[in-house]
Amino acid sequence: MNAMLILLILLVLLLTGTPISIALGMTVLTFLALFSSFSIDTVDIVSQRLFTGLESFAIMAVPFFVLSGTFLTEGGIAKRIIRFALALTGSMHGGLAIAAILACAFFATISGSSPATVVAIGSIMLPAMVKQGYPKRFAVGVITTSGSLGILIPPSIVMIIYAVSTSESAGKLFIAGIVPGILLAGLLMLVTYITARTKKFPTMPRASRQEVWASFKDAFWGLMLVVIVMGGIYGGIFTPTEAAAVSAVYAFIAAVFIYRGLTLAQVPKVLLSAANTSAMLLYIITNAILFSFLLTSEQIPQVLSQWVVDQHLSPWMFLVAVNVALLAAGQFMEPSSIILILAPLLVPIAKTMGIDPIHLGVIMTVNMEIGMIHPPVGLNLFVASHIARMGLTEVSIACLPWVVVLLAYLVLITYVPAVSLWLPNLLY
């Protein structure tokens, strides 16, 4: 009953277009004020939670990765990565498009955000593909979709948020994202290759070995970041949060001193823009933590969990339901909010069904990827429509075939847990 009431309040607030963070917080206040034994103590708990909810070093990986991502996007690193990817795959059928996917995958290994990947790679590759004679729709679809690799291939801001909200290990989740990430990049390339062959998209001359080597050397300092981050975390040198801080400093040095894509005078602007994004994320996180505090104190996860168990759902049916619910939520909200609200509810149920929380984390991440290239709130779509100077509707149509590819991939990830769990189980 209370669960329905809370959901109803939240829904009404969301429909007015109130920012999600505010709607979550207001739901808590409204519920406490109207429907619970309201006392001044609860008020104190709320204001305390607004601070202590964030008081965790693990969460601070989010602003650090946002900062490092902003430096990478602005710093001329994407250009080098693209050149290297082109040298590797340019001569294949649909070479430019395949290189774009490869560049997105490379960029995803150093950045934790999907929209940032679309901006970094798309703003260079989109005009290039159109100029080479690719249909604009196809080009936009490829970039927008492969940009979503940003959150699947580690590091990933979405995965950190999942780890924080479910007390799982971010490091383990990162490892679990590697195989699915490579597999998805391969799948996207395969689809592109087949389309390119049948539709006779242009190819490029094969790059000389010197060019491959030269472009690799040029991109080396950018690609080193993945070695530092992943090597550092798994070598036990630092925690994921420290890795994120180191990667921010490294990205700053690479952008300003090695690649000179940024001048020192532009750094405050980068800091401000990163602070803007991360403060928004942290504000949602704070209010979502407040919201889950309300859910927990009303014992809603337990009730829900009991209800699901009473339905005698088999794990695979439960996963179908989870995916449908997540896809539906992805229609209205952006990934961090969905994960913050739903993951703490879903994980206890999954555990009673014998589903590994790490596996569920990967499923949720792939789901969020689909949400990002799907209207009405697909963040990648907004970014892509801005770069391509195309309407949101047209970008969405361009992405539609790719949504189907990702849905098929989601089925694979959901029902073959080994894809996600093989590597982490090997290492941990």
């Binding site: 007015t16 277009g17 109130t18 963070s21 207001m26 104190d44 601070m60 901006v119 991360s278 403060a279």
Partner: protein
């Protein structure tokens, strides 16, 4: 007068959050370097004199302050995303009502939190609690809740009055923002 005050407020807000961000990053970076220097004996000889056990705590406080003031800045840049399905669907006159409600809710919520925050800071002040590593008075650290939240409330009211007067809303396009800094 109000105009000068607003401009001053804008600058100090931007300056604060950018420096919180930079400081937190540098502190953690230096703390990591410091710990790793233990592997190099001649360096550790000097480095071991320093103590960085407070670094994580300071980083967390800096980021919480950054988050509270950054959230206010975010209202100004329009980065706080909501569900706009209904808002975009209804006809303009109703849209105006919905947007006004949404902005007023924002102002109401942040205003309430600011008042509750003052109460909380007052309470913590009475306990004389200090932070575990830095041993700074907690009430000063908690000040970010009333300060940040009242600034955010002020920003919501600003956006609301501007919207009622001119019908304009701050629109944050991720790409536009990123291009702007390029």
């Amino acid at each position: 007068m109000l105009c000068t005050f607003n401009r001053f407020l804008d600058r100090i807000e931007e300056w604060l959050i950018a420096s919180f961000m930079a400081t937190a990053t540098l502190i953690i970076f230096i703390a990591v370097l410091h710990r790793q220097s233990a592997a190099i004996p001649w360096l550790w000889q000097y480095a071991s004199q320093l103590n960085f056990s407070w670094a994580q705590e300071l980083c967390i406080y800096l980021f919480i302050w950054m988050a509270k003031f950054g959230a206010a800045y975010g209202v100004r840049t329009g980065i706080h995303i909501g569900v706009d399905v209904l808002v975009n669907y209804v006809r303009p006159s109703r849209r105006r009502v919905l947007v006004s409600i949404a902005l007023s809710l924002g102002a109401f919520f942040t205003g309430t939190i600011a008042v509750m925050g003052v109460r909380w800071v007052w309470f913590v002040y009475g306990t004389g609690q200090t932070s575990p590593d830095l041993e700074w008075p907690m009430w000063v650290i908690y000040l970010c809740i009333p300060l940040g939240s009242s600034l955010m409330c002020y920003r919501f009211l600003q956006v609301l009055t501007r919207f009622l007067r001119s019908g304009e809303l701050p629109v944050h396009s991720l790409a536009a923002a990123e291009e702007g800094t390029a």
